[in-house]
Amino acid sequence: MRRTNCSRSGTNKFTRRDLLTRAAAAGAGVAVSGAVSRIVGSSTSAQAAPRRGGTLTLVLSSDPPSLDPQKTPAGDLSHFLLYNMLVSADRNTDTFIPEMADSWTIDEGGKVITFKLHPGVKFHDGTPFTSHAVQATIERLVNPAMAAPGASWIGPIDHVETPDDLTARLVFKQPYAPIFSSLRIIFLAMLSPDAIAKLGPNYGQNPVGAGPFKFRQWIPGDRIVLDRYADYAWAPKFYKNRGAVYVDGAVVRIIPDESTQVVAFERGDLDILWQAPASSAGRLIQSGKYQVFKTPTAGGYYLGLNVTKPIFSDVRVRQAIGWATNRDEVVDYALEKLAVPMDSPIAPTIWGYAKGLKNAYHYDPDRARRLLAEAGWKPGASGALEKDGRPLAFRVWTFALDTNVRIGIVLQTQLKQVGIRMDIDQLDAATLLARTPSGQQDAILISYGWPDADILYYFFHSSRMATTNRVHFSNPDVDRLLEEGRVTVDPTKRLQVYRQLQETLLQQAPWIPLASAYTITLAHPWVRDLYVDKYANLLTNDVYIQK
């Protein structure tokens, strides 16, 4: 039996590599980000003592579907301010550190994880945080009647044991290597058992967490108002201030229009512009007036080729697209240079990414042309290559979003140079989600985000064909590697599995990886001691306002 420990006060034995599991975005199921690099401004440095008071004004483009973390398909900054999780990720070292749990042990080859909980933690409604809260939270998450979007991220959980008030034991049916990534996701935020019983399905309208801010009011379409939680005293150890926040509260304004958001920020109506729109980010950065937090996203854009379509059934055509794609141009022209090229289905910031993959593609249009010629495609009258009277042409479906369309146009030009015609169809999310399972699409151009390589299970495992496997790819080797990656607890072995998996996927080329974009967060100079972590979460415990 292997036993590993982590403690709040003692040496942290759970390094990122030891655990395999990177802290997931507390904020987001979909949009998570990687390493932060502050390029301008030090929010800063607290020469003077932090000042109490003031309100932090933030912005979101739309209302969260719910403030109940188990009823939202993707978290955002409002959830992160309200809730805490069992574990956190150190903002500097990216190791797992305690948040609501003080320490943990892993037993029985990863099938049992025992958490020692931090004593004295209270939810916003006064309910003490005990092992029963952990149990109630997880049982609620996996309850089919809840239909929680994040239910699958807890993996093959069997049950939760509560030996005493401050010990919670998660028992799995089989080892689930990505579990710690999941524990940092907002879906696994701890909920008050009293509030669960009292509020039922209305939890999201009166959210009760144990985070640094508590809920006061939500005016849909306008704002979410949060108050400082005065009893808060369990901030992770990387904070200077581990008690209640310095500000009196936070207001999350809802402004859908990106240009209006930017004006409101420049006017000073907003203190922080989270996920600044790409169209204005460059100008705002160059103005030099603001603190800038640039965080590479743990995920990226890709071109997914439906391998069941006749045109893509020949692997050489798929590979040719890989060689014909110039990722640097995608970064420069479509993503305003606020991105990095991606040479693997796994973005460089996601745990499991393997450097120096021998099957990785680089821009080589001649090689693309040679492969297409080998596959029997010859120059045709239409300008595109032809075979048996059919042109080498396909339609790509993408979201009607500025960035997606711009990437599409760059790709369209590049593919045309090797004789492939690509037309772009813009769809809204609901339509794309509804139509892809039946395999109507030739190709898709979308993005994804997740902090652990296990995400590939959803995109390429044959069991996901009717849902997230939108390229309708089925390969026994890939299935086996994906399954192995899930249950291999040893980090070194798991990395090897994912290296092999990435090589196979690149060789088979159901996806053409493109680029991983940065998330830009801007703050006014009067916001002191702000930190934006690797997942673009705002770390607010040290923040104070000095106007």
Binding site: A74, P149, G221, D257
Partner: protein, 306 residues
Amino acid sequence: MQRYVVQRLWHLVPVLLSVSVLVFLMVHLVPGDPVQVMLQEYGSPAQEAALRHSLGLDRPLAVQYGTFLWRLLHGDLGRSIHSGRPVIAEIALRLPYTLWLTAASMAVAIALGLVLGMVAALWHRRILDYAAMIAALAGISLPSFWFGLVLILVFSYYLRWLPAAGADTPWSLILPAVTLGTSAASIIARLSRSSLLEVLRQEFIRTARAKGVNELQVLYRHGLRNALIPVLSIIGLQFAGLLGGAVIVESVFGWPGLGRLAVDAIFNRDMPLIQGIVLIAAAIFVAVNLCIDLLYALVDPRIRYS
């Protein structure tokens, strides 16, 4: 009069019923599944089935419509699939904002439109006429999202007189109302100009003038009141236009109205919410047009309803 009002209110029933059938069919015909939107991509098939069942989406369309209608008769518009809140509560939260915005825009449209129209008619084929009509043409041609942003840039960013977004102060209403009201004002201006010109050419105006009636009285008592009838009917129609136009303006100005709720509901394929919003909007539209019809009688004593 009372009988007429009751009769018109009865007409509301088939109108709303038809609207409900149309909307119901439309939201079910467009591709997209609310369950997929809610669970995103990572839900299991079993979860999807459970959610579909709990929302009643696994039942035949006719049964779903029947249930919707039965609830509607009991004053229940169901619950939003996405937020889980009652549809009526969702609408009640947002409707006042939209009504405020629409009313303020209407006030801008009427004031601006009538003034421009009157100026153009009184100074027919002179510089003021041309200037007013060019302004009207510009007002109708400028896309509201662009015009709104220009107003934000000038009054909010450079002059710093008004807030860029939100609904927390009465000042917040000014920019969206002006943006929304301007295009409606243009139509009212053009129509009131032509209507007034036509009336001013009538014999009774000449008679009034010949009798020595003061020019202001000629214009107000004899001219404008007669010219207003077609203008009133277009104001009723414009009201619907404003409800629809609010969708864009509400997004630009972060105004928490019904338009944005509708757009979000459509993107989320939140069927009960879409149905609820359309029904309420249709009812408002019919009610406003009824009020306009009743106003005719006030403006023109010759019109009597029986």
